[in-house]
Amino acid sequence: MTGSEAQPPEPTVRMLYCRCAFAQVVPADVKSAVLDGLAAAGRGFEGVADLCDMAARRDPHLADLARLAKEGTTLRIAACWPRAVRGLFHLADSPLGETGVEILNMRTLPAERVLAGMLDGDTSAVAESAAARDDATAEQAAASRIATLGKLPPNTPLGETP
């Protein structure tokens, strides 16, 4: 050993890609481009047809992945909202730890940002994944709808609400 400090070993990375094959909630072009990018990278990864389906089965593989992440492997998941993904692991009795897990949101991020997170460990892409949709207009519309509903007299036909 020289006088310089020993570097900690690079953490092993496991990549999990969710195809969301039973729904159209993840834009098709994004999920295809992410898969193309992962396949072209020449690295091993796992794909699942539908992480929701896996969680409903309480697939023991989810527990394996959660355990690996707690033992020092970095688990990178390309799926949807991090809150939903964490909820799914919890439902499967395999809760994810606070650290060691990086979730990339294919519902909101462009494919290149998802790939930057998955392949290069770009933590800003991980942070963006959990950020609210930049959709102030939708928020305002929802707020005004709530206000209007609150003012309507009882028994107003709902079809006539804004």
């Binding site: 295809s32 389906d53 809150r83």
Partner: protein, 296 residues
């Protein structure tokens, strides 16, 4: 109710030692095709045996005629050399190797769309309102009297109704089209939207199930008077329209609801389970500090 096998079958595409890698585009095409059929896929660069778990039934790779023997936890796994085969031929090989293993295949007639409530454990306060609301035994409690999604496949596909009863906005349906039910962060506006739920209830003139019961009873009376199933159904549909619009409950779900008597019985049962869970929580809280105190 759908009975779910513990795992979807897994395919290993092997590119480790002893195998030629697939061409880039071909690799993506194969992975996409298998996932879209419902399989799990591992693109393995290490030992195929290490990548295989008990759900693995087939390993495919370009082995140049030297396919190795792979044994997973419980069974010998079929290994196919697919040198010189087109992606379509590889897919055919895998489908053939699956035999009669169950597969929830997207887009097929008998497939199950994985739709069910997912709880945000950070937000949930275990108040059990969702448990007492659901008529289909989706919810249960764990050994610590905390809420648990017990029977996900009992949930009515595309119905997010129970997310509207949660005062903490803790219930997600990841396949829902909008936030925060889809899992998007919960904003103050969303918490305020809980007030909208109350307003909707007021607009309907009270508790949604009471209303439903009343409407269904009306339809049922009409049915017995007129002896016309079609007419009774039409009436039920008409009366339930408002409910469907208000709570975003799919019409099919409302149509499929049990009889008013059954609804009452089920609600009472669910309320009882919720009360028992809450009593269990209270008892555990009362015992907890005493049990852990040094003088106990």
């Amino acid at each position: 109710m759908t009975t779910l096998a513990p795992r979807q079958p897994r395919v290993v595409l092997y590119e480790g030692s002893g195998a030629e890698p697939f061409a880039g585009a071909e690799r993506a095409e194969l992975v996409a095709a298998f996932l879209d059929r419902g399989y799990s896929v591992t693109l393995a660069h290490e030992g195929a045996a290490a990548a295989a778990d008990e759900a693995t039934f087939v390993v495919v790779g370009r082995f140049a005629g030297q396919a190795p023997l792979v044994t997973a936890a419980e069974a010998t796994v079929a290994v196919h050399d697919c040198s010189g085969r087109t992606p379509a031929e590889v897919i055919g090989l895998v489908d053939g190797a699956r035999g009669n293993r169950p597969l929830n295949a997207p887009g097929t007639g008998d497939s199950w769309k994985p739709w069910f409530p997912v709880i945000d454990p950070v937000r949930c306060t275990n108040c059990m309102q969702c448990l007492s609301f659901c008529l289909f035994d989706v919810y249960g409690v764990d050994a610590d009297h905390r809420l648990r999604v017990e029977n996900p496949s009992n949930c009515k596909v595309n119905c997010p109704a129970c997310s509207r009863v949660c005062p903490e906005v803790a219930i997600m349906f990841p396949k829902y089209h909008a936030g925060p039910i889809d899992g998007a962060p919960v904003s103050q506006t969303d918490v305020g939207r809980e007030k909208m739920k109350v307003d909707i209830s007021a607009l309907l003139g009270g508790d949604i199930y009471a209303r439903l019961k009343e409407r269904s009873a009306e339809a049922k009376n009409r049915f017995s008077r007129e002896r016309s199933a079609d007419q009774a159904l039409a009436e039920r549909r008409r009366c339930l329209t408002k409910l469907a619009d208000a709570a975003a409950i799919p019409r099919e779900v409302l149509d499929a609801l049990p009889s008013p008597e059954e609804i009452l019985r089920k609600s009472a049962e669910a309320a009882k389970r919720a009360a028992a869970a809450l009593a269990g929580q209270a008892a555990a809280e009362a015992i907890g500090p005493a049990a852990s105190s040094p003088s106990a």
